[in-house]
């Protein structure tokens, strides 16, 4: 609700804007977080999309015949969970770039836009964390397999593929922590006295 009685105390590095009816400045910490989140999700998306490994696996049909060799390729798009992980990282990366531009353009002009950005920040936290959880679950499945349903593990064969996937998930997790801090830090800065 834009109105004259709205006040915000969210200002630039300790300088608080007390004017009535004026909306927020944007802190340098907020912008730095957005840049960090953008870079981390971009790196995670690139690393996982470049993840490919081909291994030649000897297949032994019976003991009398010599084993013949088949090349097997592990690529990220073979698993739907990894695709979902890539999509969420791409969405988060685009959103971080857009909100960075908007926050720079919007210095203290429109309150409604700031509310929308905060709202979308919270939504991105959920999306990114769910993508991380999905990829991590599939990664654990690849590392250990699941003996109860006879799903064999694949990471003993495709070790580089699994290591790269683990690195990408780790980077994306730090990116999602950055998004989480983007939600929490403005709230903390709003009332430093009450903490």
């Amino acid at each position: 609700m834009e109105g004259e009685h709205k006040r915000m105390s969210y200002g630039v590095e300790g300088v608080e804007s007390k004017e009535m009816g004026k909306a927020v400045g944007v802190s340098a910490c907020d912008l730095a977080m957005r840049v960090l989140a953008f870079m981390l999700t971009l790196v995670a998306a690139i690393v996982i999309s470049a993840d490919k490994q081909t291994k030649v696996v000897p297949i032994q049909l019976s003991d009398s015949l010599p084993p013949f060799y088949l090349p097997f390729t592990a690529k990220w798009h073979q698993m739907s969970a990894i695709l979902y992980f890539l999509v969420t990282n791409a969405i988060a990366c685009t959103y971080a770039a857009l909100s960075l531009v908007l926050a720079l353009v919007n210095r203290g002009k429109s309150k409604g836009l700031w509310t929308v950005i905060t709202v979308l920040d919270a939504f991105m936290v959920a999306l990114l964390f769910s993508g991380n959880g999905a990829a991590a679950a599939v990664g654990v499945l690849g590392y250990k397999g699941n003996s109860h349903v006879n799903w064999k593990r694949v990471c003993n064969v495709f070790d580089k593929f699994c290591d790269q996937m683990a690195a990408s998930i780790g980077v994306s997790f730090i990116g999602s922590l950055a998004f989480l801090l983007l939600v929490i830090i403005p709230v903390v800065r709003l009332h430093p006295r009450t903490w």
Binding site: A74, S130, A134, N150, V154
Partner: protein, 189 residues
């Protein structure tokens, strides 16, 4: 959102009736989160199923339990934490209605913990969802066969539990939105 009824005074302390709609919406959403967590937990914990499967040439009864997969175990743990948190914060929110001078302080704490719980719940939903999807469709590239054609009750329970978990995540997002919106419209300066 509950902001249409908010009134403002120029003084620094906000009077009580301004946020009554927010209080009610907050308590209702927290009880919905509690209900969603409890339902998701109940449905997944009761999902055990035993079927006769062909295993190394013999027909043996093989059980399918949620604890056979670490993703589902994490799902159960995460929603236990979320259910406990929802209960405690719902009671705290009700208590704050009686004493509205603590409201702003509680709102700040709520946003912090809500955001943490959202992260935990969303990752648990994603993890359980991805493993359940592999169970549903299998993965021919990795050599993982699908199991939901055999264990149908197990998969139905999983699907229901994950759907309720998704609803719980949306409720948590709404809680964060509500708290942020209320803080930024009621900041006394």
């Amino acid at each position: 959102m509950a902001s249409t009824d908010l009134e403002y005074k120029s003084s620094s302390t906000q009077p009580l009736p301004a946020g009554v709609d927010y209080f009610k919406a907050d308590v209702i959403l927290r009880f919905m989160l509690l209900a969603a967590s409890v339902v998701a937990l109940g449905v997944i914990v009761s999902s055990d199923q035993t079927e006769l499967v062909l295993f190394q040439g013999n027909l043996v009864p093989q059980p399918a339990k949620f604890k056979y997969s670490p993703a589902f175990v994490y799902f159960v743990a995460a929603f236990s934490v979320s259910g406990l948190y929802a209960l405690i914060s719902a009671l705290a929110s009700i208590a704050v209605i009686q004493k509205p001078e603590f409201k702003l302080k509680f709102l700040l704490h709520f946003i912090f913990w809500d955001a943490l719980i959202l992260g935990i719940i969303a990752s648990a939903t994603g993890a359980a969802g991805s493993v359940a999807y592999i169970g549903l469709k299998g993965n021919s590239h990795m050599g993982w066969i699908k199991v939901c054609n055999v264990y149908d009750k197990f998969c139905r329970h999983l699907a229901g539990s994950i759907a309720v978990a998704l609803f719980g995540s949306i409720v948590t997002i709404l809680l964060i939105w509500l708290s942020a919106f209320t803080i930024h419209s009621r900041v006394p300066k």
